[in-house]
Symmetry: D2
Subunit: 347 residues, 4 copies
C-alpha cells in the first residue's frame, strides 16, 4: 500500500486527488494538508466526503510528511513546492508537483511568465515532465515529477503527433482553449461568483497566459528540441469541469484524412487514456467528465490547407489529479491505469 500525502488537499485539484485515491486499491492517504483549514475536519470543507474521510486538515510539514509518505502531491500555488523541496526530502520520498514550479526547464522563462523567483532551480533539471503518454519511461525512475498544466496536457496531446511527424508548419500553430470554472480554483473572487460566470464566456490572459511557454517547450521537444512559438488563448466557460482545445495549423503537404489518422493511431492506438474519435466526431467535454480520458480528433480543411485539431478532457482529472495519480502509478511500479478506469459520468 502506497502511503500518500497531499499538500493543498482543499483546493479543487487536491479534493479530486482525494476522490480518486479513495478508490485506488493500492494507495492510502495519510496526510490531508491544508494551510487554510488546519484542524478542521476535511469533510466540513468538502461535504461530499462526510462519513468517507474522517481526517482533519494538517499544516504543511514537509519533513514529517517525507518520513510518513511514499509519495507527496503538492497541489499548491506556484512557488510553494520549489520553496519546500530539498535533497533530504527527495531522498526519502517522491514528489508529484501539480504546480508549475518544475515544468519549465529554463529558469528565466519561468520567472518571466510567473513573475516570481524560483527557490530551488537546482532541481529543475532532475524533474521529469509528467506527461505520461510521452515521457513514460523517464517518469518511472523519477523522484520529482512536474505534473503538467491542464491546458497544456490537452493542447500537447492534441497536437503532438502532427508536430512529431512534422506534418504542420510549427510557426502557424494557434491554440484556442476553453475551460470550465473549476480551473480558476476555489478562491473567493468576485470574478468567479456564480452570477459573474454563468451565462457568459470570455477570453482572458490573451497572449500572456502562463501555460503558453509550457506548451511551446514541450512541443518543441517533439520537433527539434527548442521551444516553438505559438498563440494560446484560454476562455472561461460556464461549466464546472472540462477543457476543450481547438487548434489550428497549416499543413505542409496535401494530406488525406487517412494519412493523418494513421499518424494519430501510431501514437495513441495503444494509449488507454487517449481516445482518437471516429471520423467526423468532434470531442465534447461531456463525454470525458470525471474520467482520465482525453478525446482527440481533427478535420482537414482543403480550402485553406489547414488542419483543425480538437481535444477534450476533464481539467481536474487528466488535467490535474488523474494525471498525478497516473504519474504516481508509474513511479511506484503500479499498473499505470490503477484507480483511473472510472468511466466518464454523464449527464
Amino acid at each position: 500500500m502506497v502511503k500518500v500525502g497531499i499538500i493543498g488537499s482543499t483546493g479543487y485539484a487536491g479534493q479530486e486527488l482525494v476522490r480518486i485515491l479513495l478508490a485506488h486499491k493500492d494507495a492510502e492517504i495519510v496526510w490531508y494538508g491544508s494551510r487554510s483549514y488546519i484542524d478542521k475536519k476535511y469533510s466540513d470543507v468538502y461535504g461530499n466526503m462526510f462519513e468517507i474521510v474522517d481526517a482533519k486538515c494538517l499544516d504543511d510539514n514537509m519533513d514529517e510528511l517525507a518520513s510518513k509518505a511514499d509519495v507527496i502531491f503538492t497541489a499548491t500555488p506556484q512557488g510553494l513546492c520549489a520553496s519546500l523541496v530539498n535533497e533530504d526530502i527527495l531522498s526519502k520520498t517522491k514528489i508529484v508537483d501539480l504546480s508549475a514550479d518544475f515544468r519549465i526547464k529554463d529558469v528565466a522563462t519561468y520567472e518571466k511568465w510567473y513573475g516570481i523567483e524560483h527557490k530551488s532551480p537546482e532541481f529543475i533539471e532532475e524533474a521529469v515532465y509528467g506527461l505520461c503518454e510521452i515521457n513514460r519511461d523517464k517518469i518511472k525512475s523519477a523522484r520529482l515529477i512536474a505534473n503538467p498544466g491542464c491546458y497544456t496536457t490537452c493542447s500537447i496531446l492534441s497536437l503532438y503527433p502532427l508536430v512529431k511527424e512534422r506534418l504542420i508548419d510549427v510557426n502557424s500553430i494557434i491554440v484556442d482553449a476553453k475551460s470550465g470554472t473549476s480551473g480558476a480554483g476555489r478562491g473567493a473572487k468576485v470574478a468567479n461568483l456564480y452570477c459573474e460566470v454563468n451565462e457568459s464566456i470570455k477570453a482572458y490572459g490573451v497572449t500572456t497566459h502562463r501555460h503558453t511557454p509550457e506548451i511551446e517547450e514541450q512541443l518543441g521537444y517533439a520537433y527539434d528540441g527548442t521551444p516553438l512559438t505559438l498563440n494560446f488563448t484560454p476562455h472561461l466557460v460556464p461549466m464546472n469541469r472540462g477543457i476543450l482545445v481547438t487548434a489550428y495549423a497549416n499543413l505542409i503537404n496535401d494530406l488525406s484524412y487517412e494519412d493523418v489518422k494513421a499518424v494519430y493511431d501510431k501514437y495513441y492506438k495503444s494509449e488507454t487514456f487517449v481516445r482518437v474519435l471516429d471520423k467526423g466526431v468532434c470531442p465534447e467535454t461531456r463525454w470525458v467528465e470525471g474520467s482520465n480520458y482525453v478525446d482527440v480528433n481533427f478535420v482537414i480543411d482543403p480550402r485553406t490547407n489547414r488542419i483543425v485539431v480538437m481535444g477534450a478532457m476533464d481539467n481536474l482529472v487528466k488535467g490535474a489529479a488523474g494525471q498525478a495519480v497516473q504519474n504516481m502509478n508509474l513511479i511506484m511500479g503500479l499498473p499505470e491505469t490503477e484507480g483511473l478506469m472510472m468511466p466518464p459520468l454523464f449527464p
Copy 2:
C-alpha cells in the same frame, strides 16, 4: 460473475446502470437493450463509452434475455415490464424493474394515477418494493423487484424514522421536492431544451404527480399499514442531477433536536448509504452527485412546532441505477455495497 441484461439501456437511467456496472467487479453486462437504437453501437449513442463499451444495441427479447442473464434491469417506460414478465421468465432470471409497474400494490391506484391498464397484475403481490434500507430481507429472496422512484426514495428515506416512530401528525405531511433535469428523461421535447430549462424553476404535476401514491403507500406501511394522504410537489431545477426534498410536518409532542437525532440514528447509523448530517448542516445535492448516498437532516421549528426534514440524493444513482444495483447485490448474494462506493464527484 453475474450476467446482466439491460432493457432500455439508452435512457439516462439505463446509461447510468452501464456506468455503474462497468465498475462492478462481480457483474458483466451481456445485453444492451434499446428499441430506439437497434444495431447502433452503444458508444455512438453515449460518447462517454467510446472504447469502453464495444457492444451494439439489441432489440427487446425477453425470452432470449432470460436465458442469458441472471438479472434483467428494465429501465423502460411504464407498462413495458408488466407486459413482458411471466412465470417462465421469472423462473429463469431475476428482474429489477426501474419503472413503476410493480411499485403499487393496489392495481386500481396504479391504473388511476398512471392512466394505463396493468398487464400482469398477478405478479404485483410477489414483487418486492426495493427500498433496500427498509425491505432488505424481503429483497434477498425476491424474483421481481420494484425499484423505487427517484422522488419516492428521497422522500421516504427522509421521513421514514419520523413516521415509523409516530413523532409527527401523518395528516400534516407536505413534501416539496426539486429535481435536476435528467429526471425528465432523454426524449426530445421542447420543454426540456437547454434554453427552456436553463435560468428557470417551476413546479409541475402539482397535486397529480405519480410518485404521490407511492410515497403514501410506503410511508403508510411504516405507520399503520394503510396509505397516508399527503401533498407532494415536484419542481424542475436547472441542473443535470440531484433531488432535494424539503418536507414539513407537525410534531406531535415537544421534541428536542437530540430526541429526533436519536431516532434518525436508530434507523440509519448502520446504513452505509444514508448519511444523517451534523446538526445545522443542510443537505445539498452537490455533495452526493454521482454517488449512492442520501444525505438527510432536519430542523425543528419551536415557533410552529413543525419539523422541516431535508434529503439530498443523486436521482440517477440512489434514485434509479444505484439502487437497482444495490437490489441486484442483495438478490444475488453479493456484498450490498459492491460497485457503489464511489465517492461523490465534486465540483
Copy 3:
C-alpha cells in the same frame, strides 16, 4: 425630471436600479454611490454600462445627496439606512430603502431577527411598507418607503387574497421558496462561487430566515392585524435571477377552482404587474425574467383539502429595483408603470 441618488449602486440591486432608471423617461441618476468603489468609473465595475454611464462612484454623503436628489434609493446592507436617516434629510428628499431597516414595525422583532440595534426607531412608524399593490395610497404620500424583501414580495402577493378573504387556515401556511443566486449579493464568498452553486440546490436559513417575520407581519395585517406564524424555507437555485414561491395551506371550506379564481381576480385583475395565470398553468421564473411581473396561480387538492399557491418573479426587479422604481413613481406622482413595462426577456 426626477433627480435620483443611489447609495449602494454597485450591488446587484443597485445596478438593476441603474438599468431600469436609464430607460425611465422621467428620471435622471445624479449620484452613483458606492463605498467599495469610490472614484472608480461605474462602467469599470459593471461593463454592461460601458459608454452608457460615464459617472464615477461616489462615497456616501447623505446631506449632499439630500440636497441634490428628489429621491434616494438605499440599496445597502441592513442598518445603514437607519443610521443615515434623520428629520432634516426627510424634509428635503424622499427615501426608498431597499434594506430591511424600516420593514418591520416592532423594533424588538427587527433586532432579534437581524441581530443588530436599530439606529433610528423613531422613523419606523412613519415608514410605509412599499408593497405597491397593497399599500398604494399610503405610499403616495410617504417620505420614507420600506421597499419589501424579494422573498416577501413574492410570498405575500401569492397568498394575500387567500388570507384577506379568510379562505385558509392561517396557522397552516408553509412557504417553500426558491431563489436565483443574485439574491445572495455580489460579495466574494466561497459559497457563492460558480462551482459551488452550479449543479446543486440546497435549503438555507431553515426556520431562521429574516424574511419570515416580514411575511408574517404583512399577511397579519391582511388578516386580523397581528402577525401570523408560518414556516418559510428559502432555497438556492443555480440560476442568476428569479424567485419561485410554492406555498401550502389548508382550505377552511370546500372551494372550487372558480371560487378561488374569483378571489384572485378581485384583487389582481386590474393590477398591471400581477398576472394570474390560466387554469393549470404553473408560474415559471423564465417567463418573468427582467420584468416587473409577478405570475401567480394555485391548485386545489381535493384529496387533502389544501391549496397549493405558486408565485414567480424576478428577484432583482419586482423583488428589489423594479418595485423601488414603482414606489418612486407613486411618491413622485408619476404613472405607476413608467419605466417598468419592459417585457420579460426570454430565453
Copy 4:
C-alpha cells in the same frame, strides 16, 4: 406607426423581434405568423407574453401580409423567404429576411453550402446585406434586406477595420467562435436537451459551417471585392444567449496598440452599437446580454506578430432581431437606434 408582420414569430429570433418591437414606439405588430402554432394564442407559446400579447398565431399568407404590413420580417428556415418573395410583394412592402436566402450574392455558393436550390435568384442582386454599420446608406433605400447571420455579424464587425485598412494578411485569418444555445433554435432535438448541452462545450460544423462563405464574402468586399478564404469554427456553449468571436491574423507590419486603436476608432467611434473597449479589457458576453451592442477589442502579440481580435454580442439581438429592427428603422426613415437602446441585462 409602422405596421409590422412577422413570419416565424415563434422561433427564438421571432420572439425576440416581438420583445423588441413591443417596446418600439413607432412600430406595431399586426401579424404573428407561425406555421407550427396556427390559431394558438401567442402567449401560450411564450408565457412571458401573457397579458402583453393578445394575438393568435397566423398561417403564412404573404399576399395578405404584404397588404397589411409596411415591413415583413421573415424569421424562418432557409429557403422559405426565397420561395415567397416576388415583385408584387416587394412593390407593396419591405422585407427584412433573417434567413440566409439573400445574404450570398453567388447563387452557386449559396446552393453548395446550404444544399438547397434558390427559388428566386432574380432578387439576390437587389437585396442589400443589412450590416447597418457598413451598408447604412444602401439599406435606407432597399426593399429587401438580407439580415446578417449571428456569427457573421460578430465576426465581420470584429475584423472589418483590420481588413479594410489592410493591416493583416487576409490569408491568415482564423475565426474561433462560441455561441449560446439559443442559436440552435427551438426545435426538439436530443442534442439540444438541457442535459446534453449543460456542462459541456464542443465544436461543430468544423470547416463546413454555413456562415463561413458569408464572412468571406463580406470581408472580401472590404478588401478587394472578392471573397477571402478563412477558417471559421463555431462552438456550442452552455448558456442561453451570447456569441464570442476570437479571431487571429498575422499583422503585415509592426503596429502599436495605438496604431490599431486609431483604426478601430476611425470606423466605430461614432457607431452607437459598436463599443471598442478600453485597452486590456476583453469582451464578455455577459456585458451585452439583451442589448444591441457589439463589444470589440484586440491584443497584439509581439512574439508571433499576430493580432487577436475579440467580439461579444447577443446573438438574438444584434445577431438577429435587434439588427433586423435596426434595418427596419433605416428603411422606414426612423431614428436608427429607436427601440434598441435598452441597456444590457446583468446578471
